[in-house]
């Protein structure tokens, strides 16, 4: 949908982001909080809601929730838990323990990279539900003959961050989620993996005539599993609502499901009274009442947030204004918590563009390993590429093998990276040597070019006549002849030097 069809209308978007907290255990019991284990292996009487079991609150979950509140400039307040009652097999207790009228964090804000501030209404603690899959022909709820339930996720600690309806475009909503994600990772609260469900977004979308102050009726969109889907879902939903209103219809407040395959939202069938949750205070838990010392410790212990780190990394790299490729790379590096790699390389005098590229492109793609690669090792690699000992292509290959080694060492630790915050040293020179990556001396380079020019006189004439497109042809031929050892930049400058000499 183009933005033209929104002409005359304003979008109003509020987001609810559920973030699984990075704890060892669940919120109210000592079962592992771990993704991807065999079904129903991380369960106990508490998270199965067996009679007589009692919840006991995880102190790290409270610490992380307070860190999130501090990072979002919230008031951190005394809070309590409520039971949210509903019948659905994903919660065998028939209620979810959540925070209702007294959330731990409220009234904060988040600043987008554009400088716009989005209000944070609250960020409260609650438990996650089990995972249901539906058996039957369609695989969907409708028409399923029965459902299967895995309770490994039931009771995993969540913080739900509820924004004010302050966003006005799909792009702003995406910017908000990516900044929130970066903040949650920076707090140490989350791994930020949307693809594993660590971060889940519900979008409240409404439309109104441009200039109107009154809010339209909103619909809540669920099942948005990526930033891309979020943008698509919001644009589809806005266009749908505008079409309904333009035809004289009214919007019904409802929950809608986003279908990844069709890119459309559809009404989720539910009973009219399904939102009657009959909240009441959870009698098995007492209030959380953090004193000033506890809150002060959380606030002062907060690591630097993404905005500050982007500014630091950006200025050290000489990154340009927002929107330039290098500032996007800076954002990517910071969002994944890999600033230490680039900063280390810069301190050792490496080329900032090379350090940023290797980190934002190659290291980010394998962030789990990259987080445990010693900055000194990364720095040595980037320095080798910066001084021309290896080419960019070779550098990427070496980095790949370095990260393979880190993965191997992590595996030797027992396959679990949880809790391990250390670094591994990997020697890039040893890898480069073992692959026979050596710098081609200028004589060899010149001789190879001579041969190629001789076999392709026509192309060479075109290059000399100023045809820049044909330059890439020569780089490609040089790479082929040297089996990738030639440095593209060195080839170009050699060719330019020859043309200048002729001219």
């Amino acid at each position: 949908m183009s933005s033209d069809s929104l002409e005359g209308w304003d979008l109003v978007i509020g987001l609810e982001v559920h973030c699984e907290l990075d704890t060892n255990t669940k919120l109210f019991c000592g079962c592992p909080n771990s993704f991807g284990d065999s079904p129903n292996t991380n369960v106990c009487p508490v998270c199965l809601g067996l009679p007589g079991s009692l919840p006991v609150l995880n102190s790290r979950a409270v610490d992380l929730a307070m860190r999130i509140g501090a990072a979002l400039h919230c008031d951190i307040r005394p809070s309590r838990f409520h039971r949210k009652n509903y019948f659905y097999p994903d919660m065998p207790k028939a209620f979810q323990i959540s925070q209702y009228d007294a959330p731990i964090n409220c009234d904060g804000w988040l600043e987008l990279t554009t400088g716009k501030r989005v209000g944070i209404e609250r960020a409260h603690i609650e438990e996650d539900t089990g995972k249901t899959t539906h058996l039957g022909e369609s695989g969907r709820i409708q028409g399923a003959s029965s459902s299967l339930v895995d309770y490994n996720r039931a009771g995993v600690p969540l913080v739900e961050t509820v924004s004010a309806p302050d966003m006005n475009s799909a792009q702003e909503a995406k910017d908000y989620v990516s900044e929130l994600r970066a903040i949650l990772v920076a707090c140490g609260a989350s791994d930020g993996k949307m693809e594993e469900g660590s971060l889940r977004v519900d979008a409240n979308v409404s439309v109104r005539r441009s200039g109107s102050k009154e809010l339209g009726t909103r619909c809540e969109i669920k099942n948005v599993n990526s930033l891309k889907s979020l943008g698509k879902a919001i644009e589809f939903e806005a266009a749908r609502q505008i079409a309904v209103l333009q035809q004289g219809g009214t919007i019904r407040q409802e929950t809608r499901h986003f279908n990844e395959d069709t890119g459309e939202t559809s009404s989720m069938r539910s009973k009219e009274d399904s939102h009657d949750y009959r909240y009441f205070p959870e009698p098995d838990l007492v209030v959380i009442s953090p004193d000033e010392a506890w809150i002060g410790g959380i606030r002062s212990g907060l690591p630097p947030m993404p905005a500050e780190r982007r500014a630091l990394l950006g200025s050290k790299c000489g990154a340009g204004s927002p929107g330039t490729p290098s500032s996007n790379q800076v954002s990517t590096v910071v969002a994944h918590g890999l600033d230490a790699l680039v900063l280390g390389a810069l301190d050792d005098g490496a080329d900032p563009r090379i350090a940023l590229s290797r980190c934002a492109n190659e290291a980010v793609a394998r962030v789990d390993a990259a987080l445990h690669l010693a900055p000194t090792s990364f720095s040595r690699l980037v320095t080798m590429e910066s001084v021309g000992d290896i080419t960019a292509t070779q550098s990427k290959l070496v980095l790949g093998e370095m990260l393979d080694e880190v993965d191997q060492k992590l595996e030797e630790l027992g396959g679990s990276t949880g809790g391990f915050g250390g670094y591994f040293e990997v020697d890039p020179e040893a890898i480069a040597n073992s692959k026979g990556f050596e710098k081609l001396d200028n004589t060899t380079l010149a001789r190879t070019l001579d041969d190629i020019v001789e076999s392709n006189p026509g192309e060479w004439e075109r290059f000399l006549a100023g045809d820049e497109k044909v330059a890439q042809f020569f780089v490609g031929q040089m790479m082929k002849s040297t089996r990738g050892q030639a440095d593209g930049k060195a080839v170009i400058s050699l060719m330019n030097a020859r043309r200048d000499k002729k001219g």
Binding site: V43, C44, D273
Partner: protein
């Protein structure tokens, strides 16, 4: 409704609503009986409202405790065999339950 105790406390419609939320199928006689009984319970509880509580601050919990926390340390989980033996229906390591939405 003519019943004395339930008047103003809870309506028959509210009882129907609560029964449907709790997935209880009640017949007319039971609805009448529960409307009466719930009304009597609410009536009894409402005597609390007669107490002068102007100087008492609201409380969340009858026990004056706060910050009851445990360390984030792993504990033992149940064995799959035990789960299976306690579940009415178990399939491929998961609990099998009847289809969820009962609308047509």
């Amino acid at each position: 409704m003519t019943d004395q105790a339930s008047r103003g406390k809870i309506s028959r419609e509210e009882v129907v609503h609560i029964a449907s939320l709790a997935r209880l199928g009640l017949d007319d006689g039971e609805l009448d009986a529960f409307t009466r009984e719930l009304g009597a319970i609410l009536d009894h509880a409402s005597t609390v409202a007669e107490i002068d509580l102007r100087d008492v601050s609201p409380m969340s919990h009858p026990i004056a405790l706060s910050n009851v926390l445990r360390d984030d340390v792993l504990d033992e989980c149940l064995e799959l065999e035990d789960l299976q033996s306690n579940a009415p229906d178990f399939f491929e390591g998961k609990f099998r339950v009847p289809k969820i939405l009962d609308e047509p």
